[in-house]
Subunit: 338 residues, 4 copies
């Protein structure tokens, strides 16, 4: 009955089994184990291109380390005003980048457009007095539960690259975007111009590890030392690797996301005109009066107020392992409210 | 047969069981779970005093975050020349502290003395031009496999506190030190003047989490936001907490360390005059000629060269789950060499 | 004929004389000289309250060091979207603060309002995941050539202080604001709630030094070491101090600003409806077509395009030593255009 | 009668005249002035090679910015244990580099040797766990008043370059070294392998500016934005440039240094066996008992205790404008003591 966050979801049995399998002793530590050694090739297969993989303990770590590999301390990062890095990561990006600036841009339903970026550039100068943009970051699926298509990503990335910028994608819910769009992981990432992808697993059946996927070899050069120096090179690296492999090698990551998306669709259909934005992943944003919120909560449904969208907004997130009955119960209640 | 590092040891069954037990879904994320909620009280019981506990994904993270909570960006940290923070953490401390300096002091067998600290202070000035010491860090058990007694820690901490410094202990192998000394955890930490302890679990049967234990309440104030900003506040915090609880609540942490210490003693007895320093924890440092090293490795024994102690030095570390037969085999070989 | 920037103005004769007078040898270096020793008392007299004074080599340095003394690395700084720290200081604030974030707020004519700040707060949460505001910065006179009155500053500062925030004022043109308002320096700074003021001199007849004025003693504690560590504690500190004293001790600072303001008024009267905002200090912002800009430049008038206000905007700044005839010539031309 | 520091010396008349000449208004600000524009060519002439020049307000700023242009945040800087950056700059290097580490090496009379560097390297590993050296810094003249010859610099630089390191020279007293050695500035800098030189002027007749001289073009790329972001790009850049030009264009810098060196020689001859190290620039380090120090101070001679060299050490520095009679008086007293 809880729709607060997919962060509180359970761990997929395949992940748990993989962790158990990795629990025995090994000759050597850090990344010198069979699981860590297989990471690059497994993700390279999945993404149909050479990928360097760096497991990290959170999505915040993935985003901040990835951007640090792209942006100098004095650089700027073009981001949506509601980007997770701006709203919910406590300044991790300026910490890991040694002071890079977020250059925020508005956009409907959590999405940036080329026009908005152009307008932003028109008001800037290229001299030493101004923070110069060095990267563009896109969240996909977005913080508003919408998705960028491969074509949209490609257009934004092309704009960025024409100006010498790198392109990062916050893919905390990349699986949900791929599942929704029916595209390949490659189409939504490096083929569209993404240099580094923060690949979310924890929300999607994982346990303690997300990953940085680097498609552009020169950007991978500093990541090993940045990761070590950030205290994120675990001495028992096999556990992070085993989780990631368990999710991707059998396709579980995509099945989990597809299920959550489908259940979110049921809620969306029920919520109808209350929806703030189209439901394209596993999150819904609704208008609910205080009385309606209270009533739902009294019945046991958990969800967050969403201050960013005003005092009567609410966010509901469907998990990969959400109980179907709970979804149906909530759908009935939402339909009744409408 | 491998004595490279306790970092490559296995995971204790109790830890694995605890992780499995925590694998189901929860209402809320981050630290809002029954395991995380119990951490402070469980460690407070073990240490006989109020403790704030912050799980982190590595010992490097524990040391660097702990020191960042104690030392301003312009401060200095008195440390042994062979301290792990100086030798093996890739500059994590200046990263997390925003530039604090290590003020290194020499000392026999990995240990600092009050006399050496006094000599260091005599050569310094207190003005704005010099980096002023703000903390003292001690590693216990030390990087040389020796231990500080509670009285030694107390004397060093008293020296530090008289000069306004905070005291940190790198306890990656704190369990081994406590097991060796037969003292209480309290006696070797806050009762001796330690403000924050990096409490190692991963080497000692854990999986993916060590912990910062903060005994001095005012130093805990900034740790939540520092940890979040460093990408180390996991959305599924229960897994770190469950591991830590599994190790300490039944005394497993101490049993594991005691076993490793005892096996290290067998090797020490066999190595005799080859030992560089007394064996007081689970590590041995030996003189071995290149031919001797090669012979041992050919027989399957794994261990590191130890450049810091010269070209013919070697380090052997005994793990909590080291095979007894392997220890006995190595002991025989060492005895035969002597 | 040049109206690009007061940064290119000349040095006031009193400043030059003071520098020459300080040129001889002294017994000791850094701040151990008669000029530096007199700084605190001279500014305390001018501001009718105890002030700690820290000379710095630029306004950027003043703003960034001042904010670093107020805001932790993970803190936020509420600022106008066109604040100099955001638009023209190349990320100096995140550099000196070790990563603090600008939390930008819109406002007409370069000015923040309590209502806008309230709206900003309503959309935020107070938890560890979000950057928490730690300071409010106001520029006075603003980047748009307008001024905050003492009452306006007091209202904004009261809002900030009620939420535990510190208050900084970027006073690169503080002299122009005081001269315009006819208030005392105290009324526009600490009496209105300002904790630290960046006091501009270089634009106003100075040579190489601006100053940080700290009214809140506890915020001054870290400034000496921060300034030293930033390479801004000059070994011949007497030259910065002598300049600052020369400007303030005889009232020159206020006379210079008043003259520039008065000349700007002449231009404002001539520009009439072309003005984007009221002219309340020594800067004017005009609508000018490309043809008009080109014509004026051809006649020798220098000024900047002002991209922030759109493609047909221009900024003209009047200096303390601007030639009267040049002002009158430009006023005639502007009047003719209208 | 004061021998505390050349930092407290007077300003050379040519510098003062140059500053006065630059005092008038200009069309544009920052580095857009005739003096700043001439800097690169003037220093290129002096050094017989293309040089990029960046004026900065202190030697600390010069060293820290120069090293930041060479060393990543996770890099190490090989330096003498008594290097000014370690002993007297309050952690400026870790601030500007975002956390680079000093890797200290001992050496007689303030000088590093290739042998000592080799020993240091022998004890290190090249893996991701250790801070990897990225630069070597030499102070010339050294903090002990000795000098490296061009051949010595070349040998050390060759060692560094063979390992991929950059080479920095702290030339706070570079003029004194050149004057002593009778070599060209080129021979003691880029021809010997120096990539960036901190060129001291303030101690040697300047007023408020030292300079970074960059001989290696690729290292100059980030210096403009680093300097701006550090608040060290002055809006009236002409004053720094005018000082530097005034000192170098007529050879004053070398005459000033030669005079100070010659007077230091007189003192050295008188001090005889009390000297700790050879006097090769303008500083002397002596053994003096507390009673002897007190007696000299009572007679009006000013100088510092030198804790680094023990409780009975003293440092005396001769300035470019030191009074000859004072030197002779002190020489007599020292001779009488011996």
């Amino acid at each position: 009955m809880d729709f607060h966050s997919d962060n509180a979801a359970g761990v997929h049995p395949a992940v748990l089994a993989a962790v158990a399998e990795a629990a025995g002793p090994l000759p050597d530590a850090y990344d010198s184990d069979p699981w860590s050694s297989r990471l690059d090739s497994a993700f390279s297969t999945l993404f149909e291109a050479p990928v360097r993989v760096f497991p990290v303990p959170s999505g915040t770590a993935a985003n901040a380390l990835a951007l640090a590999a792209m942006v100098p301390p004095w650089g700027g990062i073009l981001a949506h005003v509601e980007a997770h890095i701006e709203v919910d990561e406590a300044g991790a990006v300026p910490f890991f980048t040694h002071g890079a600036s977020h250059l925020l841009v508005e956009g409907e339903a959590g999405k940036l457009t080329v026009e908005a970026l152009e307008a932003r550039f028109a008001r800037r100068r290229g001299d030493v007095h101004q923070v110069q943009p060095a990267a563009l970051t896109l969240t996909n699926a977005t913080e508003c539960g919408t998705v960028y298509t491969p074509a949209e990503v490609a257009a934004l990335a092309a704009f960025a690259k024409a100006r010498g910028l790198r392109v990062h994608m916050d893919g905390a819910r990349f699986a949900n975007a791929v599942a929704r769009l029916g595209c390949t992981p490659a189409e939504l990432s490096w083929r569209a111009g993404v240099d580094i992808l923060s690949f979310g697993c924890i929300k999607n059946g994982g346990m303690t590890s997300d990953a940085i996927l680097c498609f552009t070899p020169e950007l991978a050069k500093t990541l090993p030392v940045r990761r070590k120096r950030a205290g994120m090179m675990p001495s028992k690296g096999r556990f992070a690797a085993a989780q990631l492999l368990a999710l991707i090698e059998g396709g579980t990551w995509l099945q989990n996301a597809a299920r959550a998306n489908a259940l979110a669709d049921r809620l969306a259909a029920a919520a109808g005109p209350r929806l703030l934005w189209p439901v394209e992943a596993n999150s819904l944003f609704l208008r609910l009066t205080p009385a309606e919120k209270a009533a739902l909560r009294k019945e046991g449904f958990g969800f967050y107020d969403w201050e960013l969208a005003g005092p009567d907004a609410a966010r509901l997130v469907v998990r990969w392992d959400q109980d179907t009955a709970a979804v149906d119960a909530l759908a009935s209640r939402l339909a009744a409210l409408s």
